[in-house]
């Protein structure tokens, strides 16, 4: 195996960074939606649940196409973003972040919902009778008791983001040094029959994914505080 080149490290670092940024972007809305699904009954709940799960089952490339249309210069979101910040989204690192965020969102919402459902509502009720409002109750009771599951969910979302390919290639393309991620680089190298270099990236991918999944499982299996 040839020595790992600086480009390979750049790609690995970039992928890790955008996956972390994508996860950070969806953390608050993901937990909020997970809470709404776990603790409240509302009209349109089933519809929202289904919509949120869509990226999990739709072809990632199709999700990517929708994002491309929304985020492109003439898309609603892309146009608004350009007017606000004077810069484009598609075919930049921002597009990679958005693609990984959208693809990881369903996983985060699902694990967050499960984690929050696992908190006995009695604790929250007692906190309310002790004078804590809904926010205080959430921050001091619900969140700490669900923390383990929420962190595991975030790590899972991060792991999913690391390997994102279909949506990324549609909205961000493959621009070495700018939007190239581990998955798109592996695909590109194999296309060019540069399999040796692809192996190096593959090893890094496996290492990162393994580490993230292991951490997620470890967090979920640790004994809950009693």
């Amino acid at each position: 195996m040839p020595p790992v080149s600086p480009e390979v490290w750049q790609v690995a670092w970039f992928t890790t960074w955008v996956a972390a940024a994508g996860t950070a972007l969806i953390l608050a809305p993901g937990v909020a939606l997970g809470w709404l699904l776990a603790r409240r009954d509302w009209r349109g709940k089933l519809l929202v649940e289904t919509l949120v799960a869509l990226p999990l089952v739709m072809p990632p490339v199709a999700t990517g196409l929708i994002l491309l249309k929304l985020l492109g210069r003439r898309g609603i979101l892309g146009h608004a973003f350009e007017r606000l910040f004077g810069t484009e989204v598609v075919f930049t690192w921002r597009a990679v972040v958005v693609a990984t965020a959208v693809m990881s969102f369903p996983l985060l919402v699902r694990t967050a919902r499960l984690a929050l459902e696992g908190v006995n509502p009695r604790y929250e009720q007692v906190a309310r009778t002790l004078g804590a409002g809904p926010w205080r109750t959430f921050w001091t009771i619900t969140l700490p008791l669900a923390a383990r599951g929420l962190v595991a969910g975030a790590v899972l979302a991060f792991a999913r983001a690391l390997g994102e390919f279909g949506a990324t290639i549609m909205v961000a393309g493959f621009i070495p040094g700018r939007t190239a991620t581990l998955s798109t680089s592996i695909y590109h190298l194999v296309q060019l029959s540069r399999d040796d270099e692809a192996w190096g990236l593959l090893a890094i991918s496996v290492g990162l994914a393994f580490g993230a999944l292991w951490l997620s499982e470890w967090l979920l299996r640790r004994r809950p505080p009693a």
Binding site: R122, Q125, V126, R128, L130, G131, P225
Partner: protein, 236 residues
Amino acid sequence: MNLEITGLRLPLTAFALEVDARLGARVTGVFGASGAGKTSLLEVVAGLRRPAAGRIVLDGDLLLDAGRRFALAPERRRIGYVPQDVALFPHLNVRQNLCYRHAAGPPGHRPEISYAHVVEVLNLGDLAGRRVGSLSGGERQRVAFGRAVLASPRLLLLDEPLDGLDTELKQRVIPYLVTIRDEFGIPMLYVSHNADEIVALCDDVLLLDRGRCTRRGPPAALFTASPAPHYVLKPG
């Protein structure tokens, strides 16, 4: 304490809870078989459950008026609640559980009941640093009582708080409840299906059967010792 419950109606699975009562005793017992609607009644008074109809007024303060779609939030009622499983917060130690109200109370509220006093009366001094999971039955109950009392409630709701304890432990915990009643003067609504507990603590008893109050009176009028020292319900 003066708790007025008017026209309360809460549909449950098999029947509806329907209560009209004016309660003023130091400790009012709510006695009935399991599934009679006792817990639901407490949840409605605490503000944790919304009934279909009814009005609840505590010491002149309107807590609930279902007809006008008004319900005071539980945190604004100053009504303490100890559920059946006592629900000590598992991620906090004993001291943090006891002080939860101090940390979370509305600004400007000064609890009239001091931490030191509660710890002394309920004999919690040695437990303060302990993890909740390491407490024994009996200890958990005392901590839960202390936590509720420290919130200086106007009314304390107790839902079969001694249910998980054996007879001997119950005998040791009941005096603490008597102390809470006498020392802090906090009125209580005490739910139980155990006649001995009701007789030991209550001045007034409501009999709840399938959601309705079928009999009411002082414990002496409703229960008889047979065989002593255990009590059973007199035939009605």
